[in-house]
Amino acid sequence: MSPELLVFAIIGTVAVAASILVISMRNPVHSALFLLLTFLCVAVLFVMKGAEFVGAVQVLVYAGGIMVLFLFVVMLINVHHLPDEKVLSNFWKGGFAVGLAVFILFVTLVRPGVYHDPASSDKPLRSTYTYRHRKVKNADGTVTRKLIRRGKVVGNSEAVGMALYTDYLVPFEVASLFLLVAMIGAIVIGKRELSAIEEENIPAYMLERSETEHEVKEAMSA
């Protein structure tokens, strides 16, 4: 039992347990917090696999950005006041069945030994080396271009950065553009409308709340 295996076992178990709790908690805040836990476990797994940069990004973006966003929205909607009568939707039977099917699918597909893992995990990622193109003279006198490892081991961040800004520049730029669009879209969609709330769409149980009435009045006067 290597330390990796142990860590993996524990972190894996925690992740699975947390994710199960995510989808089964009544309170969305609880679900959000357990989701956060899941994210952190996933980050650990990333680091174990030598993707430190990705792990950092995971924590930063997911845990630090997305979860915060989720929590903001949950708070905004005053979720805890909503009496959810039912947790599960109408399709829970189908859902469980499909989930089970997917799980079985994965289990049957993923067979140990298929992926020919290399015996040692000491071999550093090729990406952690920098490479240069060098013209190398072969034995028979021809000149070929080869990628020569420079031998300097860099960190995952530098390697990923090198990759992003050279080989994957276009997707990178597109991703940035995408973020811009998403930001604009979110702002536009989430803008508070000054028009009236359609009263007839309000379900009955909401109208029993005194806060809804108050909110309606506020909205109307605003």
Partner: protein, 723 residues
Amino acid sequence: MVSATILLLIPLLPALGALINGVRAAANPVTHKNRTITNAVALGSTGLSALLAAWTVITYVGGGMSSAYQHAYYTWIPAGLGHVGANGIASFAVDFAFRIDTLSCTMLLIVTWIGFLIHVYATGYMAHEEGYTRFFTYLNLFMFMMLLLVLGANYMVMFVGWEGVGLCSYLLIGFYYDKNFAADAGKKAFVANRIGDFGFVLGIFLIFNTFGTADYGKVFALASANPAAYAGIATTICVLLFVGACGKSAQIPLYVWLPDAMAGPTPVSALIHAATMVTAGVYMVVRSNVLFRLSPDAMLVVAVVGAVTAIFAATIGIAQNDIKKVLAYSTVSQLGFMFLAAGVGAFTAAIFHVMTHAFFKACLFLGAGSVIHGCGGEQDMRKMGGLRKYMPKTRMTMLIACIAIAGFPPLAGFFSKDEILATTFEHHGFLYFLGMVAATCTAFYMFRLYFMTFSGDYRAAHVEGHPESEPEHAGHDVIPSHPHLDDGDIHSDKAHGHHVEAHDPHESPWSMTGVLWVLAILAVIGGFVGIPEMFGGAHPTIFQRWLSPVLLPLGGERFEFPEASRMQEALLILSSVAVATLGWFIAFVLYKKDSAFARATRLRLRFAFLHRLLENKYYVDEFYNFVFVGGTLAFSRALSWFDAHIIDGIVNGVRHLTVILFGHGSSLFDKYVVDGAVNGVGYSARGGSRLFRKMQSGFVQNYALVMAGGIVLVAAVYLFTKP
């Protein structure tokens, strides 16, 4: 030499006259009292035509008479030029051509001169008629057609004239078109003629088929040269031709139109139904003598029909009371004699009799017209009598004509009839007997007519009390004959302005009696051209020699005129005179000596049945009416029933079927099948869409579920079925 132009003018002048008078008549249906132009045109054209005919004959005779003169004016039917007939004769083509030979000369002179005389007579007779110009138009048209008939050089031109005279006969018989029976008589004449013409046309077709041509010269030359080849077909051809002759010349069974044709004016009866048109059949048979001589069977048919017709009509004639009817049946009987002559081979005798018959029969008819005119329209002989005092000229001429027709020598009728009977005696004893009986009857009824009309006292003041009075009404003809028919003198009657009873008969004007005298003289002297050897002539007689070029040799055998021994000839002459005397004597006893006709009445009452049979013409018209007319009507009724019930039934049935099949069927089809399909499409669309609508539940998680399930399925299939 005969001039072709003059020859063409002979028929064309009357045609021109008809045209001019026709236009004038059409413009002015009611003719003015001044009829100078009409007379000038009509008489002028006919007279000129007669003169030209005489001139033509003179030039022909003067030119030697070696062969027939034939001139083709133009190619009428160029249809088959180049077609080679059965005998290697090329060309089916028919020319419009005239032929002058001795036969056509004879007929030409008869037609033109008798025609002219009757035209003159008609100017007097029809003087008070309204349709005067129309009458002369028709008369001139008739002359034109008849001349085409006799002058034609081939059967087709003759047929044109044949049909044309039939048309003119219809027009003239039905001259008083406002009288029903006159119009009916015209129709009857035309229909009977047409029945005969059917056979005639078939005969002409067969001639074409056999000889490849219809030209007289060519056909007769072929037949004469090679008789054996044509003997078989000749029987059929001749019988068919004779059927035409029966229609035109009023032989059994197509004679029925002639008595009813007396509905026309008397000049018409004289010209057409005594002298010229009805003799066209005889002319045709004599013209075709070569063909007839090829077939003894056909000749026998002709002779038998002629003889039977002669005696049949003669027996009817002895019981008629209408003066014109007696003369009509006499005509039929005399025509029978002519055909009898042709049938036994005495072709020259037939034409001789045509000529003499034209003289005395025309004289008789015109005389009868004069009598009727003088009696103010009366035609019933029982109401006449004693006219010798009032109409001496008419009486003399009619007496001469009666003696002629009875066959007393030396008048014309004797010679012609004697020649006929002599030849008949040579060949057929039974037919001779029939001929003798007919001759007896002829003499009897002619003198009966004479005595009833001219002898005794004028009876018109009272009607004789016959129990079977009004016998003319008793006949149930399709066309009743009216004894009191005013055949044209209505206006003259009114002009005189009094009834029949109070009217004294008067003599006719010179325009009429003059013609009568001319004809009577001809009846006296006309027979001398045929005077036999016994009486100073020669054998063959002048007339026989005159006509012999027409009697072509048959296969090298020349035509021989039969010669009898003196003794036989004398006996025959004596017997014919004896039977004529017998007839006269019976008539004398019954009608002259006994002016009240008591003996005649007693005789009639004793043989009442026979008399009634004869008076009603053996009920032949009734028989025809019942069988042919009734049969046709019954057949047409049957066809009408068939059409109304079966044809219409089928049509209606089809209609019903169509309505049911296509109407209801298609409505059902539309309702269930078409609408069903359309609705079915709708239902299936709705059902399908209802099915698919369930997929759009609106629940997002439903979509997610289905998507996930689909992915799982696809993945499973892909991953686990890969080989």
